[in-house]
Amino acid sequence: MLIGNYKASYAADESIFGSWPMRYGFAAMVVVLAVLPFAANSFIVFLAVQVAIYTVAITGLNILTGYTGLISLGHGALVGVGAYATAIFGNWLGVPFWVVIPMAVVTTAVIGLGFGLPSLRIRGLYLTIATLAASFIIIFVIEHWKSVTNGDSGITLAPASVFGIDLVSDAQKYALIVPIAVLAVLFAQNLFRTRVGRAFIAIRDSDYSAEIIGVGLTRYKLLAFALGSAYAGLAGSLWAYNFLALLPTQFELQLSIVFLAALVVGGSARTLGPVFGAIFVILIPEFLKWVFGFLTPFSPTIVEYTAPANTIAYGLLIIVFMIFEPMGLAAIWTRFWRYLNLWPFSP
């Protein structure tokens, strides 16, 4: 019977799924994700795909902001870079999605690296403003480089294809996107057990101290930008294969703010934080719509009041979470499993 979180070996200390609730919890989640497209209607599957895409994007932001302490307001635009790179490479070269996705990831990482250069000279609020400028520059280029991006008219792309089958239904897109998202989250979890990940954390906690103990700030800050942007590029690529039509307005500043809010609500510097954050920003508005929808039979025009009430309730929920759980939803989750692991000797 466990009465404490004791680690008897280095392997146990480094284990991703260190306790039985986490192991079985992960297995249960895999089973649920495998069954979902067969059990749910296409709208639920569509939402699940969106959660997966947001999870990948917010995981990238988590690497940059949560673990390395470099706040970015340009992440939404970098997702746009990944999405447009996917459409452009796909349309120009006609190569399959498994070639296009890495190309889009590398392109976004390189562009993100460029926008990360100011982080070598400035930090904190100043760096945030610099990344905000990056957001505006990227959107401006997408809107005005019409010969490549088709400007405001948007761009379309062919669906991803596996053995000649076009992935066009929600279930087919789910089968492509959700496994990639799960692998991306697992990769991030592993990253912070490596030298690189720990260097990121050292920089976040104190970059002067990190440099004194031998962490190269230039290298690791740029690497954090490149990795965070690579995740943004992957999310953008999956976004492109999900929607099959792209518009510059989809990737404007509001998207970056949503990502940042999701990270804070979900839990910054925690692997599951982006997952909870994505679930929160995608599913809570739909849940509130469903709740307020029960009022519609009383008056068809009540939607005029319930729609703003929905937005207000959503905002209030974020505030409530920030007050009562500033560590994010992931902290509640961790406490729950810890409690379960130690039961009946839980504190």
Binding site: F243, E286, A307
Partner: protein, 401 residues
């Protein structure tokens, strides 16, 4: 005659069969109601227009049902808020299309949505109208199930530039919002102006809401064009630009496109700032409600509103509502034509019926008989605001582009 249980059952069955046989065969096999779905901006920057239009649209549905529905079947309207975010609208669309009872008509709320939904429509086709007049949509080859309930923004620019030419103008400036909505007709406008021998002396790009108008107007004053076309706004920016220009003593004439032609906004500005909008003109594809109150369509709606709201109904329906109502009228027309032809009511047959509309009397919505060309209705008229009687009055004939 002996009336027993068996006779009653037989009689009931015979009456039911006779009633059913009166309908075309294909309709009998389909749903007992028409489900219409849509999303509109009930929150966000265009919430004022969205909420007003939704109320009127719900009344239009109620009135239609009171009058026997469409082809004998009632309409059910399912509606959601989008916040004017295209991805939200797309989620609303997916939800509607995954419901047990799928809609036969979907109404979108932005150019962004209409573009995002295009790939989805190839997989789950449905007749799709909306509030957008985006020029790209008037293309049956690329957007086979979508239509525009009026002229495209490019066609509106054609009408306005013709008005400039007819009124002795030689120079023109374009002021537009930094949105896909604002930029839509600009390139076409440059070419159309050149073709008419007009010189585009200046272009000014502003924010869609909350723009710093003084700097924009200062640039306009330096260019000093005969006419300025304002485009890409709904409730704000355009009145501030005109007001500031008047304060700068500019003599330039201002023109607008559909979403900047609402009397309620013009009246509000006049009440606060005086007659600064006097002479402001623009293109409208529909008749103002007060202008055609006695027409077949408007009079029915007027009577319905009066009966439902009494004195609370001011007797005026905003242009933001006329647009979705006319869009739904086109869908209604397509359904009726499809049912009459005894064809299955599906997206392919509905859009074919809609595309075949020719010389249809819209009962007052439009000044000319309605003919659908490239999934749009390319006609409009120039109206000018009179600050004294607070009315937009026609200053041109109906122009079919």
């Amino acid at each position: 005659m002996k009336v027993d249980r068996r006779t009653v059952l037989k009689g009931t069955a015979a009456v039911a069969a006779a009633s059913i046989m009166g309908m075309p065969a294909i309709v009998r096999a389909q749903s007992k109601k028409w489900v219409f779905a849509g999303s509109s901006p009930l929150t966000g920057p265009f919430a004022q227009a969205g909420t007003t239009a939704l109320k009127d649209l719900l009344d239009w549905v109620e009135m239609t049902n009171d009058m026997g529905g469409i082809a004998g079947r009632p309409v059910e309207l399912i509606h959601e808020d989008s916040g004017y975010v295209p991805t939200n609208s797309l989620a609303n669309f997916k939800k509607a299309m995954s419901a047990d009872e799928k809609p036969i008509f979907y109404s979108g709320d932005s150019t962004g949505f209409m573009k995002l939904v295009a790939p989805e429509l190839t997989r789950t086709p449905v007749l799709c109208g909306g509030t957008s007049f985006a020029s790209d949509l008037a293309n049956p080859a690329t957007n086979p199930y979508q239509y525009i309930a009026g002229p495209t923004y490019q066609a509106m620019f054609d009408i306005l530039l013709k008005h400039v030419k007819d009124n002795g103008g030689s120079t023109v400036a374009f002021v537009y919002s930094d949105t896909e909505f604002g930029r839509d007709p600009i390139e076409h406008g440059r070419a159309a102006a050149a073709a008419l021998g007009l010189k585009v002396v200046h272009e000014e790009i502003t924010k869609a809401a909350g723009a710093e108008v003084q700097t924009h107007v200062a640039q306009l004053r330096r260019a000093n064009p005969d006419f300025v076309i304002l485009h890409g706004y709904v409730t704000g920016v355009w009145p501030e630009i005109i007001g500031t220009a008047r304060a700068f003593k500019m003599e330039t004439k201002f023109l607008g496109t559909f979403w900047g032609m609402e009397k309620v906004i013009a009246d509000g500005v006049t009440a606060k700032a005086g007659p600064i909008l006097d002479g402001y003109a623009g293109v409208l594809p529909y008749r103002y409600f007060y202008e055609a109150k006695d027409s077949a369509s408007y009079s029915k709606f007027f009577a319905f509103k009066k009966q439902k709201y009494g004195d609370q109904f001011p007797g005026y329906v905003v242009t933001w509502s006329l647009q979705p109502m006319f869009s739904h009228e086109l869908a209604k027309n397509a359904i009726e034509a499809t049912v009459k032809a005894d064809k299955e009511v599906n997206a392919a047959n509905l859009i074919a019926a809609l595309a075949a509309i020719k010389d249809w009397d819209s009962g007052g919505y439009m000044g000319q008989p309605v003919t659908v060309v490239n999934h749009s209705v390319p006609q409009g008229r120039v109206y000018s605001y009179n600050a004294e009687n607070k009315l937009f009055l026609p200053v041109s004939d109906w122009i079919v582009t």
